[in-house]
Symmetry: C2
Subunit: 369 residues, 2 copies
């Protein structure tokens, strides 16, 4: 890794606000990072996004990639607009960044906060580990004419490798242990999860016996081949359709879930619905040498520029960035401040039923740091 928690040099963080509300929430996250007393940061703002594509013809300039690769320790990505129609030459910069920087794990903690405004909300505290480099996201597609019908037929390749499944499986089991360790430090009454750490493998091997079969077997093998290290971690499986069903019926049954790319995308949005808003769910794109925080929400063009976007997802993504760069203490400090503001429910943006602005919520979090 380019950096360690003991490094005294400033951490260089690339900021990619990209589109829509990305431009409001990334500055909020930056303010939170700047106000921490521990690590020193140096920021560099970089171009990317659909609007940049519309202006310049490129959604992800080579300069952005080079600066991230050669100069930065980590990055924060805002959100990207997705045109619903096909646009010649346009391709999602976030998917490309994950690939260019080999950010193979998309780490998505989804935690409910008890608050006055959400009395009937189900409680959950799960971590979704989404494979981030392959599956249908390799974007290997083509279209031809079907000789039988004379009509168009399109094909996409779905790739599942033992290599990628093994490293994502390893990440899942390691994170299950890390979560367990952090939980042990809390008083019993504050621990939501009272069981042994658990990894749930999400797949659809009843239909995709070869690809999802390989994913499933490889992740299982991670535990089997490290029997001692992971002895205390339970392992179970869910077909992706049942997973969505069960997440909604008994979200309290899940600790860490590990899934191929597309299933991970879908179940993390599903889990977000359970905690009140996409506006509170962070993610980190994690590689061996780089981490990029990214709120799970989109660019939300309908509310962009109005100072009402929820900054919590971006701020938590900054905390995840810290966590995966080795700054656990600072990360916990940010999580704590966010949790306090959410549970007090005095300053909430409209997505959570409140009336506060992006700036007011950010201020409230800064005060609690």
């Amino acid at each position: 890794s380019l950096t360690t928690a003991t490094s005294s040099k400033a951490l260089k963080i690339g900021l990619l606000p990209a589109d829509g509300i990305g431009r409001e929430v990334i500055p909020a996250a930056q303010r939170v990072l700047e106000s921490l007393s521990g690590p020193k940061f140096e920021f560099v703002t970089l171009d990317a996004g659909f609007e940049h594509f519309q202006k310049t013809g490129t959604a992800l300039p080579q300069e952005t990639i080079d600066t991230l690769k050669n100069e930065c320790n980590g990055a924060l990505f805002g959100a990207v607009s997705s045109p619903s129609h096909k646009v010649a030459g346009y391709s999602s910069p976030i998917v490309a960044l994950r690939k260019h920087l080999d950010l193979y794990a998309n780490v998505r903690p989804v935690v409910s906060v008890k608050s006055a405004s959400t009395p009937h909300q189900k409680q959950l505290d799960m971590l979704i580990i989404r494979e981030n480099t392959e599956c249908l996201y390799i974007k290997s597609e083509r279209q031809e004419v079907d000789p039988k019908t004379g009509m168009k037929v399109a094909w996409a390749d779905r790739r599942i490798s033992e290599y990628a499944s093994k490293r994502i499986g390893t990440m899942a089991f390691n994170m299950a242990l890390t979560r367990d360790k952090l939980r042990q430090q809390k008083p019993e009454s504050e621990r939501f999860w009272k069981h042994k750490p658990r990894v749930t493998i999400v797949h659809k091997s009843n239909v995709l016996s070869v690809t999802d079969g390989l994913f499933r077997e490889t992740v299982r093998a991670v535990k089997e081949q490290n029997a001692e290290k992971y002895a205390n971690v339970d392992m179970e499986e869910q077909l992706v359709d049942s997973m969505v069903y069960r997440m909604f019926r008994e979200p309290e049954a899940f600790d860490v879930a590990v899934a191929p790319n597309l299933y991970g995308d879908i179940i993390s949005d599903g889990a977000a619905a359970l905690v009140g808003s996409l506006g509170v769910v962070p993610s980190a794109n994690v590689g061996d040498n780089f981490v990029m925080g990214e709120p799970v929400h989109g660019s939300a063009p309908d509310i962009a520029g109005k100072n009402i976007a929820n900054p919590v997802a971006a701020i938590r993504s900054a905390a995840l960035l810290l966590e995966h760069l080795g700054y656990t203490t600072e990360a916990l400090q940010v999580y704590g401040a966010v949790d306090k503001v959410l549970s007090e429910a005095t300053y909430l943006t409209p997505d959570l039923g409140g009336k506060s602005t992006t700036s007011e919520v950010t201020e409230a979090i800064l005060k609690n740091l």
Copy 2:
């Protein structure tokens, strides 16, 4: 079609209980069909399933396929057990049946019933139209050794054709009109959906611009090319991840949703979670010449043989079968009886928080016919 609603000959229905609770809920559905005063039925019970595979080495005997194709007007399928490990030579009979009989649409209505036992339940009344023949379900997979890593790599082909997308899109728009017509016959106060009929296209074309792009464009073209016929039907789109999110946040926003095979599989389980139990959600596999009813739930080995499985999904699937064979009056009669029993909440199986048996719930429905 082999049959019409005015045919005086008996309707021949293939019964495929298959595995687990399929053997309890299919007989329940049969009893309901037998007790209707309109159409006359002849039933033939046919082999299929994982247990049959374990006994005989085949999950779907050729005789079953032949009898369905040559003698039956429709069928009811129970549920199939999915071994989580790979079993040499085994392949899901339900996926194979859909293909053999060209049952290209999987029609899944998900309707909430207000009842004393589910006070906080969100209200929804949506119809999911799932493409049923292609996408990753073509099961074209292979495994090789990755020369770069020396490790295994597996590939699956995802197929999306204009042909299949067009017919599923057409089904979606037609069903939106049919639903609207049936709604108009109800008193205003009993209509849950108060808007113009609406079709929501579910896809992920921001990543899969070629395959999902083709799906999206083809379904859109169905409306554009039949502008007059579908003038009154609104059309919108949702990325599959947002769809899962929005379904849970505002399920009342959806009327008809149309999706490629795998997304349809996932969102229908998601919708089922919103109405209280998978045990109440039916489906029909619909082709131009054949209909096969199929509860959305699985074989539930944990509760099989205990007479506590919820027969509602299978009974509603029988009603869907009737509906798609042209017996709308009889279908509405069955739906009405089921709704009555659910809303009275006197006889409910344990999945809905009740204490009744499969037989008791079935009796209650029979009494209300």
